[in-house]
């Protein structure tokens, strides 16, 4: 049954609706545009509250590198406003439209922070959580609080912005976010590296990241993934390809791409191609938005120390139908054969010895009900997580069960 959706248009309306739910003991599913409703454990709530009407950019000061907006503001609006002044969200939030079958750009800025979505540049500039400066929200106690502020350097009190980023609406309903924005690079280019095997290319990625050439994207694209790209140069080869992105002022990018190629060529056996700024933009948007993986298969996201990717690469190749490495190997996307959908334990056991965690990003409703979507936590940490949840939402009103069954 599809419930009616509560759509408050102001902070006060949001507060009153949450307070009402607390008093009545009615659970609330919290969402923005609903574009990532399929992410996380299924929420069975009595009411749905959407923040999409809490919309609009209310402060933008390009010279101060800061913007403030209602959480319901669509990303398309945020990005267009920033682009007019040559700025952007440096953490390059992914748009999961493709994998959850939605139009691109509809996701809200609130949803981006609630899910802590970051793209390929995360390895250089940090995640969404690193760019969230201030939040106004309604807690699960029906109280309005503000956290953080509009300045970057701020250690006044606990950093609640970090806590709210990535909390998937389980602690509070954010209504307004203040975030850091940054100038867009003048130009960009990509060095494509071609080689015989994954180990070799992953080592090349790590070598590039350990150089002083300020690489802002480092991905490995197996043949299946590369074949899905709109960039013609990627579709041709029979060998595996890695991509390294460089951004900055034109003379600097030109120098660094030469120097980087020279550094990687020292060992021999690798081939090189280059992409211009246009193709670079296309390719990295495809990597960011998961357009290079099957749009239908169950999808796991593995976060691990980059060197572990090489250790596990053979196993990754065997168990996945398709895969892709981002963040220099620190982020691995696995599209599993449908029969593997529930094999969470196997994946998590493989990671356990190395540090890291696995999240089931896309799977059927029944699978997400059965399989822990987020990495299960050791007892003491799980107990702390529950106490943190209850400090904000003592009656478990907000998005109950979204992250963990007991949270």
């Amino acid at each position: 049954m599809e419930q009616s959706i509560l759509e408050p248009a102001t902070l006060e309306e949001t507060r009153d609706l949450v307070a009402e739910a607390v008093l009545d003991g009615k659970t609330l599913e919290i969402m923005g545009a609903g574009s990532k409703r399929g992410l996380g454990r299924p929420v069975r709530a009595e009411r749905v509250l959407s923040t999409r009407r809490l919309e609009g950019v209310d402060l933008y000061e390009p010279a101060e590198l800061v913007m403030s907006a209602g959480v319901g503001t669509p990303m398309a609006t945020i990005q267009a406003t920033l682009a007019e002044r040559g700025q952007e969200l440096a953490f390059e939030p992914a748009d999961y439209g493709v994998i959850f079958d939605h139009e691109p750009g509809v996701q809200t800025i609130g949803g981006v922070f609630a899910a802590n979505l970051s793209g390929p540049r995360r390895l250089k500039v940090g995640a969404a959580r690193d760019h969230l400066l201030g939040v106004t929200c309604v807690t699960g106690r029906g109280e309005v609080i503000r956290a953080g502020g509009r300045v970057v350097k701020n250690v006044t009190g606990y950093d609640l912005c970090k806590l709210l980023a990535g909390s998937h609406g389980t602690l509070a309903v954010m209504t307004r976010v203040i975030f850091k924005v940054l100038p867009r690079a003048e130009t960009s280019a990509t060095l494509l590296v071609r080689g015989a095997d994954e180990q070799r290319l992953l080592a090349a990625l790590r070598l590039a990241m350990n150089s002083s050439f300020e690489v802002s994207g480092a991905a490995l694209l197996p043949i299946l993934a590369a074949g899905r790209s709109k960039v013609a140069m990627l579709r041709k080869p029979v060998r595996l390809q890695a991509a390294l992105r460089l951004e900055g002022p034109p003379p600097s990018v030109a120098h660094r791409i030469d120097a980087l190629q020279q550094l990687l060529a020292e060992d021999g056996g690798l081939g090189f191609e280059r992409l211009d700024a246009n193709d670079t933009a296309t390719l990295w948007a495809e990597i960011r938005d998961l357009k290079l993986l099957s749009p239908a298969l169950p999808l796991w996201r593995l976060s691990m120390p980059p060197s572990v990717a090489a250790t596990l690469s053979e196993w990754i190749g065997q168990m996945s139908a398709e895969h892709l490495y981002d963040w220099s190997g620190g982020l691995v996307w696995l599209a599993l054969k449908p029969a593997w959908a529930g094999e969470a334990d196997l994946i998590r056991r493989a990671l356990a010895d190395h540090g890291g965690h696995a999240t089931l990003i896309r799977a059927a409703y029944e699978v997400r009900e059965r399989v822990p979507v987020f990495e299960p936590q050791p007892l003491a940490l799980a107990a702390l997580t529950r106490r943190v949840k209850e400090s904000f939402d003592p009656k478990h009103i907000l998005n109950p069960g979204r992250m963990y069954a007991e949270v």
Binding site: S4, I5, L6, E7, P8, E13, D16, L17, A19, L23, A63, E64, L65, A127, R129, D130, T139, E143, I145, R146, G149, R150, V151, V152, K153, V155, T156, G157, Y158, L160, C161, K162, L163, G166, P183, R206, N210, S212, F213, G248, P249, P251, S252, H255, P305, S307, G330, G355, F374, E375, A380, L381, L384, T385, R387, V388, K389, E390, S391, F392
Partner: protein
């Protein structure tokens, strides 16, 4: 500064607690005599001093866990301490509590170039991390002025910054993982060598929590490759406004410098007298802008920055031509605090952050306050990120001057909040700014922060009396007082 009343029960069981601590940490690891405890009676906010009941210096995670469990069961307060360099009194001891010194946790556990990270014990100094990796051309980015002495555990507790955080971030942006002990003695790990910790971002909450939530026993930080080149430009201006406008224009031009610092006339003169850095004396404001990256990029950007400065009527522009000259440009700025210490018997260092556009207004108001209180003030300023460090000059031997200086400081910080900024950018709240918290947060907000503390520390043994002006019992904070809204919203669309 009023601290919580001493708890008689705790004082009465002092001997028993000391004996129990000795059973956990044998030998010299427990200090209970007054002479030896003097070394721990204060941190870098030395105006405040208190002797604790005892000092314990554990050497293993098991010992930290056993100490915290003991204190939690016995309701004994615990003040964690790293290098003792807090400027806000974060590790000021409590008379009815113990100090938990982490100095014996001084080992670098692993240098992992493959994953660009270093795993260390919390007592390792900030600078020692860079020292351990610089032979391969790497460094640890956050560089607080006290980096030679401050511990990385303390950096986590305070979310320390430094002159390079405009481009490279604060501690929180460079921290990958911790192992920590909760007050009940349980040991947990947050994050690791991978980029994103799972679950709630408790790592983010721990960073800057000022020793109120847990005791960190292991730290994993990200290291970066040193840029090929770094060059600095000195720029002198006829007014604070033109200096401030230059900062705004540099950033608006899309340039994020590695460092962007400003000093006002009193600070310039003090620094130049102290260490002959080559600063011009006939300007009202001085900017130091450092650009780093490949040589091509740095040369390209230096030309742009110099052109911007000329547009804003800079009367002095000098670009460093050698590494030695670049270091000298910084020497004056880095010595600004001791330089000011030479021209005044005492000074208070404040730490507010403001939106950059408010700079000229705030400096002007500060001049008025300076006249009102009859106390001089010198300003050094992390201009790029709006973090002000006004140094209020006073003489503690003149009756009432400390109080006047503190009132002046409080007025400055309230002004920072008034113009959209915050009370502290990098030094922490501690005891120093504790009573100003209500000027920034309302009761709901303070209560919610304290509820979060209760989730970590339900008995409230960790560092009470710091950060929050009023202590509430966790049970009292947990009660729900929900009111049905004034508006029933009959017209609210519900489709």
């Amino acid at each position: 500064m009023e601290m919580p009343a001493l708890d008689r029960d705790s004082l009465a069981k002092r001997d028993r607690i000391v004996a129990a601590l000795r059973a956990i940490v044998p030998g010299e690891g427990v200090i209970a005599n007054v002479t030896e405890m003097r070394a721990y009676e204060c941190d870098a906010l030395s105006a405040y001093r208190t002797l604790p009941m005892a000092v314990v210096l554990p050497a293993s995670v098991q010992q930290v866990s056993a100490i915290l469990k003991l204190c939690n069961d016995e309701k004994i307060k615990v003040v964690p301490r790293g290098g003792g360099t807090s400027l806000s009194g974060g590790s000021l001891p409590l008379g009815d509590g113990i100090v938990l010194g982490m100095g014996k946790f001084n080992k670098i556990l692993d240098v992992d170039f493959q994953n660009r990270c270093v795993v260390v014990q919390p007592g390792v100094t900030n600078l020692a991390i860079t020292r351990a990796v610089e032979h391969e051309g790497f460094y640890y980015a956050p560089d607080p002025s006290s980096q030679i002495a401050c511990s990385i555990g303390g950096n986590v507790a305070e979310n320390s910054g430094g002159v390079h955080c405009l481009k490279y971030g604060l501690t929180t942006n460079n921290l990958l993982g911790v192992e920590m002990v909760l007050p009940d003695g349980s040991v947990i790990r947050l994050g690791g060598r991978h980029l994103d910790a799972d679950g709630y971002d408790l790592l983010g909450v721990m960073t800057g929590s000022e020793g109120l939530l847990g005791v960190v026993t292991e730290v994993t930080v990200r290291i970066l490759k040193k840029p090929d080149t770094a060059r600095a430009v000195l720029m002198g201006f006829p007014s604070n406004e033109t200096g401030g406008d230059t900062v705004a224009s540099i950033i608006a031009a899309g340039i994020i410098p590695g460092g962007l610092e400003m000093m006002d006339r009193p600070a310039i003169h003090a620094a130049e007298d102290f260490c002959k850095a080559g600063y011009p004396r006939d300007v009202e404001a001085l900017l130091i802008c450092e650009l780093d990256g490949t040589a091509q990029e740095v040369d390209h950007l230096i030309d742009i920055v110099a052109a911007i400065a000329r547009q804003h009527h800079a009367s002095f522009i000098k670009v460093s031509e050698s590494e030695e000259e670049r270091t000298r440009f910084w020497a004056g700025r880095k010595a600004a605090f001791p330089a000011v210490g030479r021209i005044s018997p005492d000074y208070l260092c404040m730490d507010g952050t403001i939106p950059r556009s408010q700079l000229a207004h705030v400096l002007k108001r500060m001049e008025e306050m300076s006249a009102h209180y009859g106390l001089r003030v010198a300003n050094v300023f992390h201009a790029g990120d709006g973090n002000l460090h006004p140094l209020i000059l006073f003489d503690a031997n003149v009756p009432d001057e400390l109080r006047k200086a503190e009132d002046f400081g409080a007025d400055i910080l309230k002004l920072c909040v008034e113009v959209g900024g915050v009370l502290t950018g990098e030094h922490g709240v501690g005891v120093e700014k504790r009573d100003l918290m209500p000027s920034m947060f309302n009761e709901n907000e303070l209560a919610q922060q304290q509820r979060l503390k209760c989730a970590f520390d339900p008995v409230q043994i960790l560092n009470p009396g710091k950060v929050f002006p009023k202590l509430h019992r966790c049970a009292e904070l947990g009660r729900l007082h929900v009111q049905r809204g004034a508006l029933p919203f009959p017209d609210l669309p519900r489709f």
